[in-house]
């Protein structure tokens, strides 16, 4: 009757990552929905403005980023809700594995299954909006560096609204204002590159943001999750 004393964060991260990725693979349909949503929203813009190639090229990065924001938001509901409903989340909170590690692993898995696919389909956006190769490259790097922040900040909102009736709408209200800097630097990177200023500054700020969010947000998310149960 002895209990093991120490569990490292690596163990927790790898547990959550393996489990959530396997779950994601088993429910590919749901993942496809978020990706399809992204592509549909992106395609709506040229129809709603004017298909002038020059205009399209100017607004392309902003549209790609706004659509990525919305697609992330759409997918955030899945992050904790299923585990909340079937009781796995309470077992996570009671687990001897460190919770920030579990949460970190879950968010990472969520990003791999929803954020990363957006990066991979972004060349389609480039085709639709006539972006050049260099611009596409910057767009992809900016999405790669920026979408993890969206998942991490979104996780706090998802944890705060856990189990609430108005959760989906409320989540959008809470999280979208916080996404502003990511949107600005993400879309700004492509613009800066196109105008010859160089995207280095924007991209390094995005990278710094990802690092900072990675250090700070798991704790905020854990606190929010515990609050939901207390």
């Amino acid at each position: 009757m002895t209990e093991r004393e120490f569990f490292g964060p690596g163990e927790a991260i790898s547990w959550a990552l393996r489990r959530d990725l396997r779950l994601a693979l088993r429910s590919r349909g749901e993942l496809g929905v978020a990706l399809l949503f992204f592509l549909i929203v992106v395609s709506l813009f040229p129809l709603s403005v004017n298909p002038d190639p020059k205009l399209l090229r100017t607004i392309a990065p902003g549209i790609a980023w706004v659509s990525a924001l919305l697609a992330t938001l759409l997918a955030l509901g899945r992050l904790f809700n299923n585990d909340y409903a079937d009781g796995t989340l309470e077992q996570m909170l009671l687990s001897p594995l460190p919770l920030p590690g579990i949460v970190g692993g879950k968010v990472l898995a969520h990003w791999i299954s929803t954020g990363l696919p957006l990066v991979l389909v972004s060349p389609l956006v480039a085709v639709q909006f006539g972006l050049g190769g260099g611009e596409l490259g910057v767009l992809m790097v900016s999405l790669l560096l920026g979408t993890p922040i969206l998942s991490m900040l979104g996780a706090i909102g998802a944890a705060l609204t856990l189990g609430l009736r108005a959760a989906p709408v409320l989540l959008a209200l809470l999280v979208l204002p916080l996404y502003v800097p990511v949107l600005i630097f993400g879309a700004g990177a492509v613009e800066a590159h196109a105008s010859g200023l160089g995207a280095g500054g924007h991209l390094s700020l995005l990278a710094a943001g990802t690092l900072l969010a990675g250090l700070a947000t798991p704790w905020a998310t854990c606190t929010a999750l515990r609050i939901a149960y207390e």
């Binding site: 900040l153 705060l160 502003v180 800097p181 600005i184 609050i227 207390e230």
Partner: protein, 244 residues
Amino acid sequence: MNFYHYAAPATFYPLAGKLWPWFAAIAALLGLIGLYIGFVVAPTDAQQGEVYRVIFIHVPAAWMSMFIYLVMAGYCALGLAFKTRLSAMMASALAPTGAMFTFVALWTGALWGKPTWGTWWAWDARMTSELILLFLYLGFIALQSAIEDPRRADRAGAVLALVGVVNIPIIYFSVKWWNTLHQGASVSLTAAPKMAETMLWGMLIMALAAWAYAIAMSLLRVRAIIIERERQTEWLVEALEAER
């Protein structure tokens, strides 16, 4: 006589009841003085003409909107760290007043901008941040009202407010970086000589009035919150009886 004594709703309720009329009176008095300075004493601005008089509410409202969010976040941090119920209640009591000042700052900013720069709205750092601040306030209020259990509402709101307070400067600088269209800050130590001294005085007095108003409102609101939360306690029934 210690911190916890005054942090108990039972002690704070009558204290707030005694204090709020004083702050309301200070707000009214300073408001009248500020308006008198603003409209009668202060001269017409050489560049902007009469329309600059909007500044006497615009700038204090903008200051208060940010200041109240900071104070709110401070209360939230206290509430999370020490689990003092009253600090969480104070945070919820401040939010609507903060949202009100944010709205006023945006509204007066638009009315000032139209004749001065020819546009109701510009996407500059300060206006955009102010708009996002309004969303943060509304998000805080919406989250708290969506949660039925008051303890969870308090603590969830606290986490949100703290995340928000970390984000405000990031949002501000990101928007600033993105677009630097607007004129520089109207009041800073270096820019102060530009402005007639009476204008500065008017603005400061109006800011103090807004500050007293915010305190009076939050004290009144925290009393209502205490009534909502402390339903079955004997002292509350007695206190309400005594007030009648």
